[in-house]
Symmetry: C3
Subunit: 324 residues, 3 copies
């Protein structure tokens, strides 16, 4: 090869080497950074999960929720068509898979909790299968109550075109579906998993329902972003709420928080109540049956049944040439 043709190659090589050399200098400093990172791990001020049991996986929880939804609304979210001939086979297969995946995550959750309290986990495997089966057995009941929620969406929203539209696309119905599943597992005393489930729905919908809340049938949440329903809330049948509604706790001084961890500190909403957007009901008042709570209202005390609570029309200040 003639000498003059080698030059570009050499130049290129030289450039690359100097680049590599410079880059390598940065790489060489990584071990020191990692060493410092490991040093901080040993302090009490950080959190790690080293030398520990494996933990529930967010991906698996998401798979479980979508698998369960395919069973609860058969045919709506399946890539393949369902017909009455293959229905039992497919539903059986899907339910078995759900049992397996759910039992596995329940096992990891229980083992994690045992480890946290330094307790042996002798019955963990059996308990997780037991829980998985109990959950499967609630599916028929869940289907029925989700049927009432679906009809409530259609009945409560003038923009709803069909039940199918609600099932396909309403975030409120998705959040309620996930909450109802998480509530079952919460009732079966499964740690961690129920909250991971409702926070998944929170992330997808902006609707934050604690798994511990008790909610009756025909529940409808319209739009939903910003809704918060606290741990000890109780909601009756045929209740309708809108975006931004908070059913929350009253403020607590920092030193009293531990004392309130297991008390009822959220509202009770009786049957047929409607709560409009951005209303906040705080503490544990009772909102009586058939009452209507207007938008932006801030309530901390009981409301009798059959009552409308509205903000007094605020005095508005108009500035401009055309004051009314």
């Amino acid at each position: 090869m003639p000498a003059e043709l080698e030059k570009p190659d050499q130049c290129l090589l030289a450039d690359e080497t100097s680049l590599n050399e410079s880059t390598l200098n940065y790489y060489r400093q990584i071990p020191l950074a990692v060493h410092k990172l490991l040093a901080t791990c040993r302090k009490d001020s950080c959190f790690d999960h080293v030398n520990a049991t494996p933990i529930p996986s967010l991906e698996s929880v998401s798979e479980i929720l979508h698998q369960a939804r395919r069973i609860l609304f058969p045919g709506y979210f399946s890539p393949t068509m369902l017909d009455s001939v293959n229905l039992e086979y497919r539903l059986g297969q899907a339910t078995t898979e759900l049992f397996e995946k759910l039992s596995r995550q329940v096992l990891l959750s229980i083992q994690h909790e045992c480890m946290r309290y330094n307790q042996p986990c002798s019955r963990c495997m059996q308990l997780s299968h037991e829980t998985g089966l109990r959950f499967i057995e609630t599916l028929p009941g869940l289907r029925e109550i989700l049927g009432t929620d679906t009809r409530a969406a259609m009945d409560g929203d003038p923009a709803a075109k069909s039940h199918d539209e609600a099932i396909f696309s309403y975030p409120g119905l998705f959040a309620i579906t996930v909450y109802r599943m998480a509530h079952v597992l919460h009732g079966l005393a499964v740690p961690l998993l129920p909250r991971i489930m409702t926070e998944y729905a929170h992330s997808m919908t902006g609707i934050d329902i604690h798994p511990g809340a008790k909610i009756g049938e025909s529940f409808f949440i319209d739009h939903g972003t910003g809704v918060v329903i606290g741990e000890t809330t109780e909601i009756g049948n045929r209740v309708r709420i809108y975006q931004g509604v908070t059913l929350g706790a009253l403020s607590l001084p920092r030193d009293e928080i531990d004392r309130f961890r297991n008390l009822k500190r959220h509202p009770t909403i009786e049957d047929d109540v409607i709560i409009y957007s951005n209303a906040s009901i705080l503490g544990n008042p009772v909102i009586g049956a058939r009452s209507i709570i207007g938008g932006n209202v801030w309530i901390t005390e009981d409301v009798p049944p059959d009552t409308k609570v509205l903000l007094k029309v605020p005095e508005l200040v108009y500035i401009g040439n055309n004051k009314p």
Copy 2:
């Protein structure tokens, strides 16, 4: 093999069998649960989609939206670089793929609707191709109006560093992009799909715009979480709104909801209006051009043009040693 070496294997086998036996007992109870689940399917109280046409797929809708966005903002969301030499080829290929994917989901949506009304679907295939093409033909117009929206983001937000930052990362611009596409399909009378699209954007951004709303050019939504824009809302040009703004319907008694399904029940916002965070405008008042609606205001009546509407400064209660 000597007999004493077989023992451990047998023990292991025995252990595994006993474990399996316990586990199998749970598995054995699954068919009964599935049987009960199938039994409830036959009640009127549940929803299923069995013996039905295949349905639109949420994954496909998401793919369509991202594919269309790559076409509407060429080069911004593509893994490969675009240059003027390969642009026509790549855009042509991307547009053809969009046509195919969209036509397919339109077909599924129309077939689903035909089935719901027990109507034959003889022209479904042709209609879906027709719709796919009409949509493709609106892309140049969509590019232009989205250009005005992009400039509105830069002009309306002091934190915006560049148009590119808005295109890359502003949730308001993403929600408006999806809404404008869904609105085209809504105008072409496609069932189901437009709402699935805007609910996808709602899930990603917390911004809930009904595909039926009419929105002019240079529209800017800042932050956006909690925004609700109802089905029959009309918004003029150069309007700016902030997080938590509701353009919604007034409350309806349960027995009147059906009567209102096709009436105008949401506000009209004229040109150059600004609406600050968490304001609610309900029913169908007209907010006159160039008016400014302050934060947290709750309005149900007309506002003349060139008007500022502010809450009277609320009387605050200060508790503490340092009252002002």
Copy 3:
């Protein structure tokens, strides 16, 4: 092959051809639509990124954030178990990968910015490695401050069952984790990337924290949907805020927006302040240490330390048989 067997094939072929012919007619119109789309690309009214450098990828940014979170909370989000034997090896490998992925996206961001100002990018590669390393070096500090945020979540929420529950599932902690990383890169003057990061967290949580905000240790956001924290906000230590809280800018006339781009236009929140749900603090007032801001309050002026600010109980209008 006997003649009568060919017929079905021919019929099928005929059907397919006629279908194809109709379909092909639609395909034939696509090039015209693409041509029109290309024509609009040349107008000033649209945005494209053609003949440009490659750009940061949203997928890569998401990978970087999750990789960094696995390092900051070792063992919590890993599919494989960590033990003290493999910890250094795994952490070293994960950190090296993070350095590589982050440096790459920083490079793309810097190149994009250079191109925008038509400036040469001679030190881009070195600068991006430098930035990647500086970021890695902040990881120990980030672990420590995130430890204080994790304890603040447990201490501030009566519904919290354990630190692990907060780490696994609290959206507020996720948003703060992402913000703290983005704030480091913002401090290193990386363009584009920090905002893409916080908008990713915004999309997942409904919590919108600008990377430029300054936030002290032990910060807790409960529920979080709708929270907005603006670019020039300053927050002290041990501050607690709830869903829907806005720390935002006051309204600006359109012609003054550019003038305000680099001024402090957001609030200062001193140590130990609590701000309840849907409160808005706008402009740049100072909220004094240990003060409590009640829900739905709208503040634009300074609040002295040790002060409670509450809305005067609104006059409610009760309608019904059972007025209290």
